[in-house]
């Protein structure tokens, strides 16, 4: 089948603004959008720039707007989006070149959530791991699935309006540790999230939940963090 793909192009060395270029390639309806991009880059225009790594929906490198909505290019089949495809970089982050955006502000916000285990208590007597029941583990299971692709944060209208807002991905990262029974840094993280640019900027547009390629119920996670801030309870 013939696939028409319109791609956002921007070369910082030549262009002052972005433009679109259209390519027609032969492909199959079971091809992924990433395959189509690879085809264009490999056979038609080698100057096309986009991120990709594992190509199996795990590394989170290839988040982009496909037909107006955030997706991972490696998890989106041509048959799901049709043979006329428009590919653009995600919104709310600076475009460095073509489909590549500057992820630094995204990771800066992520780091602000202290995304690591905080526990200053002495280890158990046997000196081995801190045990956790399956129920305790299940409490934050969803938020461990995050691959930091930024599809959620860059689909959030609050983040488009204000990049100081930590964004859904950062809050999910905080959720992962706040509700971890082994962690002791919940109050510190809740304090960070209670700042102006924290959860208060979430206006429940649900774009994050809709965009997440890992099907994480992000708005629910944010809701649970909001509730923990109000009640002070982590159960």
């Amino acid at each position: 089948m013939e696939i028409t793909i319109k791609i956002f192009r921007y070369n910082p060395e030549k262009d002052t603004r972005g433009h679109y270029e259209t390519y027609v390639v032969e492909g199959d309806e079971n091809d992924r959008v990433l395959d189509v991009l690879e085809h264009v880059k490999g056979k038609t225009d080698g100057s096309l720039a986009f991120r990709r790594s594992c190509a199996h929906g795990v590394c989170g490198s290839d988040a982009m707007r496909i037909n107006g909505r955030n997706h991972l290019a490696c998890k989106t089949l041509v048959r799901d989006v049709g043979s006329n495809i428009t590919v653009e970089p995600v919104l709310g982050l600076k475009v460095k070149k073509d489909l590549i955006v500057d992820m630094d502000p995204f990771f800066d916000n992520y780091k602000k959530m202290l995304p690591y285990l905080i526990n200053d208590s002495p280890l158990p007597e046997d000196g081995k791991e801190r045990l956790q029941s399956p129920e305790q583990r299940a409490r934050f299971d969803e938020s461990t699935k995050c691959i930091l692709c930024a599809a959620c944060t860059t689909s959030c209208p609050s983040y488009w309006a204000n990049d100081q807002y930590y964004g859904p991905a950062a809050i999910v990262a905080a959720h992962r540790f706040i509700f971890d029974s082994r962690d002791e840094g919940a109050s510190e993280r809740l304090h960070i999230l209670s700042e102006t640019d924290g959860t208060a900027r979430c206006h429940t547009a649900y774009n994050c939940t809709e965009a997440c390629p890992r099907d994480i119920k992000i708005t629910k996670a944010i809701g649970e963090v909001k509730m923990a801030m109000v009640t002070g309870k982590l159960d």
Partner: protein
């Protein structure tokens, strides 16, 4: 070097966030509509009190059925959507059913708004007769 991160209103509105995003946009339009109405209403009352003609013109716009239909849309949608958001904020567990909640919200809105529009039209016809 790189393109600015700014997202224009046009670009933002083109994002295909589907049903939930539509309610998000309409919620803001409703809020803006109410804020503009209240501001101009206060202004018109003030100007009318001063005997300025512009106050009459603004009030003439307000009694038109089209404006009333728009205003009721703003108030009703903002109120019903606000209730849904509040309920889901208070009970995060229900967020899993947000699509169903939005469907219920639309049904409730269409029924109430339908009654309101019928009432506005019949009143306008009665006024003409």
């Amino acid at each position: 070097m790189g393109l600015n991160r700014n997202v224009s209103l046009k670009t933002a509105l083109r994002y295909k966030g589907q049903g939930p995003f539509l309610t998000y946009i309409l919620h803001r339009i409703g809020g803006m509509g109410m804020a503009i109405f209240i501001t101009t209403h206060i202004l018109a009352t003030f100007l009318e009190g001063r005997g300025w003609k512009i106050g009459h013109i603004v009030n003439f716009v307000y009694v038109s059925p089209f404006f009333q239909a728009f205003f009721i849309f703003c108030v009703l949608f903002h109120a019903i959507n606000g209730m849904r958001i509040t309920i889901l904020d208070l009970f995060p567990g229900l967020i899993l059913h947000h699509r169903r909640a939005i469907m219920i919200e639309w049904i409730l809105f269409i029924v109430l708004y339908g009654f309101a529009v019928v009432s506005i039209i019949t009143t306008a016809i009665a006024r003409l007769a």
